[in-house]
């Protein structure tokens, strides 16, 4: 099935590679802008964020090159050991963990700190791809589902125990992979609907929701053919949704403690917490909103420069793009991200073997989840969940892990091209 051929540089996907370097370089400029001071315009300083990031870009590029030079069978063969190793690293945090910035998910190795949670993403993707691409594996079987669930939930649970809710939530992204591999769409739809209804239930009075649901139902029934089944289905969905919304509201009003209510209200933006999450989002919106059409220009973003935006070089790095490059820059950014995701999706679908395809879907799912949550958070559309923006955010572990994630796919994809050539 797999041909014994080495990839050549010409067969790697240049589009992905170009976008990757574009992102990494712009990210570096944004990190530089966020620590820049007019009084002290340093070019290179490896004690500063941007200096370290530059170093990590170098390390990542080197490791990326190594990956491209490796035999593609390596990843298939070592998928489980890599997965096991990263899980062990993750567990090691409980023993050797160091606390950095209030987070205890770090391990200090020599002069570096690494965050194992970042690396479990690509290893889980590898393991998942290997397991699901195995012979006689049918996703419909219950034990297959159970093993897949365990593979995803194990790292998620350990990370949750380390209080890294954001990183743990990323593993939800693998449900998109499972959807492609046979998980029925209605399960995802149900999940999304439940989250949507829960949020709506807390924002709007249940009565209004029930009324709008009924109105939507009536419009729907007016548009489609009214079979008995259709009517029954619509009525029962409306009834169940109404019941769910009411119970959510009841739990919120009667069961939760005031401080828990407050925390949820802040998350939903109903309450303004000017010292915590609410402040961050407000400042983030101000920074992005003040960018205007063209932006304030490189190093001219006052909100970032003068530290109004929190975590400006890590989780809120998109603020710098928004403020300094404006609507034009932000649009280019979103389009490039969509282009990258489309390219990976397109290539994944074209893979001849299941392992490559599943791995490709894992890559795009993880990237999409990060993009959606991170950018959505800075725009005030998503709750404040601290996860980095891939390739942009400051942080060695994150950059390296996303590089591994992406470059393994580039390597696998390069082989597909060879396969095609070999087949001719």
């Amino acid at each position: 099935m797999i041909h014994q051929q080495q990839s050549k540089p010409s067969s790697v996907d240049w589009l992905i590679l170009i976008i990757y370097y574009l992102f990494v370089v712009v990210g570096l400029l944004c990190i530089y802008a966020s620590v820049y001071k007019e009084t002290n315009p340093l070019i290179y300083d490896n004690t500063m964020n941007y200096g370290k990031q530059l170093m990590w870009i170098g390390i990542s590029s080197f490791i990326g090159l190594l990956i491209l030079l490796l035999d593609d069978k390596f990843f298939y063969a070592f998928a489980y050991p890599i997965y096991g190793l990263t899980i062990l690293l993750l567990l090691a945090v409980f023993v050797f963990g160091t606390e950095i910035n209030g987070s205890s998910s770090w391990i200090r190795v020599g002069g570096f700190q690494i965050q194992p949670a970042e690396f479990v993403k690509f290893s889980t993707a590898l393991a998942l791809a290997k397991f699901l691409s195995g012979y006689n594996i049918n996703f419909k079987q219950f034990n297959v589902k159970a093993i897949v669930a365990a593979m995803i939930l194990l790292p998620m649970l350990i990370i949750l125990l380390q209080n890294e809710t954001g990183s743990a939530l990323v593993f939800v992204a693998f449900s998109l992979v499972l959807y492609r591999e046979g998980l029925p769409g209605w399960i995802l739809l149900l999940g999304v609907s439940l989250i949507f209804l829960s949020v709506i239930a807390l924002l709007v009075q249940p009565l209004y929701i029930v009324i709008s649901l009924v109105v939507i139902g009536i419009i729907l029934l007016a548009l489609v053919q009214r079979t008995k089944l259709m009517i029954l289905l619509t009525v029962s969905i409306i009834a169940l949704s109404s019941l769910y919304v009411s119970s959510i509201d009841y739990v919120f009003q009667k069961v939760l403690q005031p401080h828990q209510k407050s925390r949820i209200n802040v998350l939903l933006g109903k309450e303004m917490d000017l010292k915590g999450a609410g402040y961050n989002v407000q400042q983030s919106k101000i920074a992005i909103g003040s960018g205007g059409v063209l932006g304030k220009g490189f190093l001219q973003g006052t909100q970032n420069k003068f530290r109004f935006v929190p975590e400006q070089s890590t989780d809120f790095i998109f603020c710098t793009i928004g403020e300094e490059y404006g609507f034009i820059g932000s649009t280019v950014f979103v389009i490039l991200y969509l282009l990258l995701m489309w390219r990976i999706l397109f290539l994944a679908e074209r893979q001849r073997n299941k392992f490559n395809r599943i791995y490709g879907y894992s890559v795009v799912s993880v990237l999409f989840f990060h993009f959606m949550v991170n950018v959505g958070m800075t725009l005030g559309l998503m709750p404040v969940i601290g996860i980095p923006l891939p390739f942009f955010s400051y942080g060695g572990s994150a950059l390296l892990s996303f590089t591994l994630l992406l470059f393994i796919f580039i390597r696998l994809d390069a082989n597909r091209v060879n396969e095609l050539r070999g087949g001719e």
């Binding site: 909103g289 420069k305 559309l381």
Partner: protein, 621 residues
Amino acid sequence: MDNSYKSKILFAVFLIIGITYLSRLFYLQIWDESYIRYAQNNVLQEQTIYPARGLIYDRNGELLVYNDAIYDLSVIPEQVKDLDTVAFCEVLAISKEDFLARFQKIKKQKGYVPYRPSVFEKQLTIPTYARFQEMLFDFKGFYVEVRTDRKYKHSNAAHIMGYIGEVSEKMIEKSNGYYRMGDFIGISGVERSYENDLGGVKGIRYLLVDSKSRAQGRYKNGEFDTAAIAGKNIKLSIDYKLQELGEQLIQNKIGSIVAIEPATGEILALISSPSYDPNLLIGRDRGKNFAALSNDLTKPLFNRPLAAPYPPGSIFKVIMSLVGQQEKVLFPSTSYGCYGGFNAGGLHVGCHAHNSPLALRGGIAISCNAYFCNVYRSLVNNQHYKKTELAYKEFYRHVTSFGLGHKLGVDLFGEGGGFVPTAEYYDKIYGRYRWQALTTISLGIGQGELGITPLQMANATAVVANRGYFMTPHIVKKINNRDNSKAEFKTKHWCSVDTSYFQIVIDGMEDVVNHGTAYIARIPGIAICGKTGTAQNPHGKDHSVFFAFAPKDNPKIAIAVVIENAGFGATWAAPIASLMIEEYLTRKHDTRIELVERLVKADLIHKIKNDSSTTIKTKQR
């Protein structure tokens, strides 16, 4: 099973999210412009530049008020690190408990932010400030902020200059936000009435600040900054030497002295006693001292010359003489007999022993009560008018044309109007048509309901000195070296008595000093025209009153002196006025050293205080 169609669904989801975010970006960055303003509010800090307040000089260029730097100690709590509390407390001379209590107080303040400065100690003394400067490096997080406060070069003229204080909330509202909490503003005196000139215009400097309010540079290189405009310097019409002498002479007595240059209406001296040192109302003890002055029973904060109405007593006879002539009921030759006073219809107004009968000039010089009771009767019961009421109204018109019974419009805060009873006033008391001259006879000798402020007395003297007009009295001569341009101060206000009637009265007033009741005020070589008054009042001993102008021809000074509860006008008021005139005209006040000493040493306040039958309250209406 081919699931490849699902890639399209997934990409559709990606697209939906992408388009949603682009819409949101459009809304934030292009549609809603408020974020640009929020961003500016974040980084722009308006820094107020306070202008120097205008200086105040006397008419001869003597500096009276200037500005003095004061040092407030501020703390940025977040920046306080490794503080040597013991050393710190020692420099400030406070206890450790006090230190902790202050920090607690700062933290409880409304709008407390740990990274913004809060005032820890207001107005450090200079020695403390000096020690602090040396050690500031050791006290991280503490800063000294420099502001300016007033400083008064002399301890005199407190009532003229007034004082400044922190602006009230009402004032802030009224100023449309120009004033801010903690700004200094004139509260009384010239400081108040010329606030717009003295205060200058505040400047604004826009600074870029970071999220912790630390300055990061100028906004657009200062393009939008405005410079502060310094307050204008003011030259008062006050003659400081004269003011100082007056305050010395009147010390330990309750009363007022007002001196005016008749030709211009410029106030040469304005003295209210008891007074206070204006330097009490600046600096860190301002509040404490203000409370003490407010509670003082002798009311040192009360501006008597402007606001306290007194019955003028016999000095009113001068005005009676003029009005009588104008109404043609009195002629220089008119003579009345006096037999121990005025007797009519069972009414008796006493008079002292003197030759009788007297003509007008003699009546003024001797200050005969009977004479002026007769003048008053002939005025009010004037057959020329059909009714007493109409005759009285005419009398009222004449009297008030001398600037009595209403505010003159002096450029100082707190002026009172005094009181001249109207016909309606008497109608109310006695009923319509039920009163006539004899009912209100005491008015004729300056008693009764009449209330005249010392400023009005001096102004009336100026009318006589000018032979018929006055200029509105004012205290500011020049603003930034340009004449006080208010039209009001440049207009002659003619009284209703013709100039021709003045000469005989002025001759009578000269006699008063040369060989009449105020002989004590005589100065060889200077023709002084004056009139004494001994004003009865219901609150105790008579007020000693004197008004005069000099020289007789081309007068340079018109002066009124009132000493409360002191007795005869000739005893206290006349010699004080005489010394003041001498000082102003000859720059000497040492020719009668014994007289000066007697006046300076006289302590009438404590004498009054020991006399339980009298109160020191000023009569006010």
